[in-house]
Each structure stands twice: as structure tokens, then as C-alpha cells.
Amino acid sequence: MELVCPAGTPAALRAALEAGADAVYCGFADETNARNFPGLNFSRPELAAAIDLAHARGKKVLVAINTFPRAGAEPMWHRAIADAARFGADAIILADPGLLAHAADRHPDQRLHLSVQAAAANADAINLYAREFGVRRVVLPRVLSVEEIAAITPEISVETEAFVFGGLCVMAEGRCSLSSYATGQSPNMNGVCSPASHVAYDSAGGQQSARLGGYLIHQRPQGATMPYPTLCKGCFTSRGETGHIFEDPVSLDASRLVPALARAGVTALKIEGRQRSRAYVAEVVRAFRAVVAAIGSDTPPPAAALARLAEGQAATTGAYAKTWR
């Protein structure tokens, strides 16, 4: 199985290659990609150099241009595709149908992957994107169980890529406006969920609080674990009950499900975390390299001691287990 690893900076990309990534995904430092965070991502020269470096080592670079272009501003996204293709990107990861149509028309030889942001959650959707735009691989949305993935793969002719570690969307990706409801900025339009510019942490009276767009999302004693204030993992009240009504502040760890995902026909495993540091990338990639190496052998995969890296320091297998719903 191909191990697809995140890089928010050239340093993280080198760390991922060093740690055993088969492919690294990254994006330009603007709103064309869904991790448009301050200080993150690649300039044009940085991306060109990164692709050359990876190719020299026989590895791949996948370029995510996976936001939905703003009406009237499509040329910015078209330029991003043209540049990634010109630099030799092994694949471009897209979500927007208009952008996919453009890429299929103008760059017919460029390999295209369907981003998780397109939320292609069944075989019909995947076959539609394959037929209309010639996508060669689909990143599976995190609403599917392992059984459902196993049922999808025989019905499609393209490769599949499944998330195995990192931040977890609990809503169908690319179809969520919770962030823009509270902040005016969304993953689809701006490439940011719960943007840092609208996040405020505060400490008072032994309590630490986190607000998004002014709304109190978390409150914890000083020194306790503190999640990032995304609404889907926030603490709310409903009829007198207070708690994490959507999802606890946990992140995905499907390391134990890797053999099952392989049996389900999944081609590639994806690690989330372009916004994380090179230390995180190195540690997670190294752990999953060992997990992949153990597939098919009698030795059980090494227990990945990764829980401490997870948000809330707790992990879930998410929608992969049907009981999650």
C-alpha cells in the first residue's frame, strides 16, 4: 500500500521522505488549498524544488488544489493547476467539478485525484467523477465504514485512498458551513476551518477558555488538555445537557484497521496533518511505515504509540466502525 504523507513546509516534506513516505501531498501558500494557514505551505520555487527532490529519491508529490474557486476569481486556481503540472506533480488533488473539467480539458495528460472535499461517498459518485473527468484515484470521505469501502471498491475502476491518522472531520467534508456560520470563512471558500484569526484563547481564574468567532467552545482547568476550537468538536448545551454533542475532541487512528483496509481494496493510506510540524510528520510516518511493512506478515503491526500526538490526546477509529454513527 502506498503511504501518502502531509507536508505543510519544505522541511516537513524532507522529514516525510526521510521517514519512509511513498508520496507527499502539499499545496500552494494561498486559498487554492484547504490548509490555507498562516506561515504554511509552498511558494512556486519551493514546490518546484520539492518535486525535484522527491523525484530524485523515486518518490511522488501530490499537489492539493482542493478548495472551490471563488466566482469571478477562477484564473488564480487555473494558474495553480498549470504551475503544478509544469513542475511535474505526480497528481493534482481537486474537488471542484468546474476545476476538474478545466484540468481534464487543458491538461489531459495530468493525473488527477479526487479530493476528500468532493465527498464522493458512494460508487455512483466515484464512477461519475471517473467518467466525466478521468480521475484516477478518489480520497474516500470519512463517513464510510470499512464494510462500505469493501462494497465500493469492486464497483469502481479507480484507486482509493483512505485516511488512517490525524484530524477527523465528523461532517461530510466539503459540505460543511459550520466554520463560516461562526466566522465568515469556510474550508470550501477560504481553505480554512475555524481560522486562527477568529480563535481566541484566554486564561482567568484557573480556567482556560477557547472561543471561535466570540462563541465559547471549550473551557478547561489550566494545564488540562486543550483542543482546537472547531465547532464539530466543541462543547455545547442542549436541554440542560452539556457536552460534545457532535464529537469529542479526538482524532483518527486507524492503524489497527490497516490490514482490513487492505483487504477492502484500498490502494493508498493517507495521513492528515499538513498544519502540523516536521516532528509530527516524522513520528507518524515512521510509525505507519512499520504498520504497512507488517501487512501480510504473521507479526502483528507494531502498536503505534501515537495517542499523545492526537488532539485531546485521544483517538477513535471514527466512521470506519459502524457503531460510531
Binding site: 505543510g8 513546509t9 519544505p10 522541511a11 516537513a12 522529514a15 494557514f37 498562516p38 506561515g39 504554511l40 511558494s43 481560522p195 486562527a196 484569526s197 480563535v199 481566541a200 484563547y201 484566554d202 486564561s203 482556560q208 478547561r220 489550566q222 494545564g223 488540562a224 488538555t225 486543550m226 483542543p227 482546537y228 498544519q275 502540523r276 510540524s277 516536521r278 516532528a279 509530527y280 516524522a282 513520528e283 499523545r308 500526538l309 492526537a310 488532539e311 485531546g312 490526546q313
Partner: protein, 174 residues
């Protein structure tokens, strides 16, 4: 019983600030010159004034990237700032040297931040990409000759090991 590093530091008298600030300023200008990508990555956040509060330390540090300024301040005179990061010095150094992940330290409650979250994030990402080595930067700042540099490298490595903090990049240890 030997003192641990944090206790040892806390027991020190506050140092005279002018020489420290002078050295920090040189270090900062040197780093900015050797790693111009840091300022590029910071972009619009380069102008932010970021206060670094290493809890056990006797002084506060104020980083002003655009002005290429790093200054030390007495705890009794907190300078105006846009954002503040609070945590153990050992964690700051581990993060700088790529041994620890900033989000992990933050999620676990070891680091806390307040003020302009974007500026903190931008600084974290810019420094992470720069792959700084504090030992090498100090040596470069002091413009030490070859022999002196070797001695300092050895000294800082020993000091870091004794204190349990990372004073240099250690790819060979990983």
C-alpha cells in the same frame, strides 16, 4: 540533591538585561540574515510582537520579527505585545529543534497561548521550516573561530544534556 535545570534557573538572580538584550539582538539579526525564509513565511504577521514566557525563567522575551528584535524584559515590567506563548523553556527548545510538535504540546496543556493566534501559528510554522540549530546560530553570532566553535559545540552539547534541554538539532539521535 542536585538542582534540576528549571529550579537552578529560577534561583538565579535576574541578569542585567542590557548585555543579554544586546546579545539577543545580534542573534536575531543573524538568524534573520541567514534564514530570510522565516520573514517571508511570517508575511503579514511579521509585525506582530510576540511575548515568550518561559515559566521558570527569570525574564520574559519579546520577539519582533519584522524589526529583527529579540529583547529580554523584567517580569515586573511586561512589555506591550500582540500574543503570548507560555510554557517550559525545554519545550520551546524542543519545538525549535524539531523534537516536539507544537500542537501536541499545546493540546496537552503544556503550552498555552493568548492574543493573536494567527501570529503564533505563523511564527511556529516559519520556525519549524527554518530547521534552526541554536548552537550553530550562537556560534555564528559570536563569529567564533574554528577551534572556539568546536569547543562551544562540545560545551553547549554537554550543557544541554546536563540540563535536559535541546540546544541543537539532533537528527542523528532520532
Amino acid at each position: 540533591m542536585p538542582l534540576t535545570f528549571p529550579q537552578a534557573v529560577r534561583n538565579l538572580p535576574a541578569p542585567p538585561l542590557f548585555p543579554l538584550t544586546f546579545l539577543l539582538g545580534r542573534l536575531m539579526r543573524r538568524v534573520a540574515a541567514r534564514h530570510p525564509a522565516i520573514l517571508t513565511r511570517l508575511g503579514p504577521h511579521a509585525g506582530a510582537r510576540i511575548l515568550i514566557d518561559a515559566q521558570e525563567g527569570p525574564v520574559l522575551f519579546l520577539m519582533e520579527p519584522a524589526a529583527r528584535r529579540l529583547t529580554a524584559h523584567d517580569r515586573s515590567h511586561v512589555p506591550p505585545h500582540d500574543a503570548c506563548i507560555t510554557g517550559p523553556m525545554a519545550d520551546f527548545l524542543s519545538m525549535l529543534h524539531g523534537l516536539e510538535d507544537g500542537d501536541t504540546l499545546f493540546f496537552s496543556g503544556r503550552l498555552t497561548i493568548s492574543g493573536d493566534t494567527s501570529a503564533v501559528l505563523a511564527l511556529r510554522n516559519a520556525l519549524d521550516d527554518a530547521e534552526l540549530d541554536l548552537t550553530e546560530e550562537i556560534i555564528a553570532t559570536l563569529a567564533a573561530g574554528d577551534a572556539a566553535a568546536r569547543l562551544m559545540r562540545w560545551g553547549l552539547r554537554r550543557a544541554g544534556a546536563l540540563a535536559g534541554v535541546s540546544l541543537h538539532r539532533q537528527p542523528e539521535d532520532r
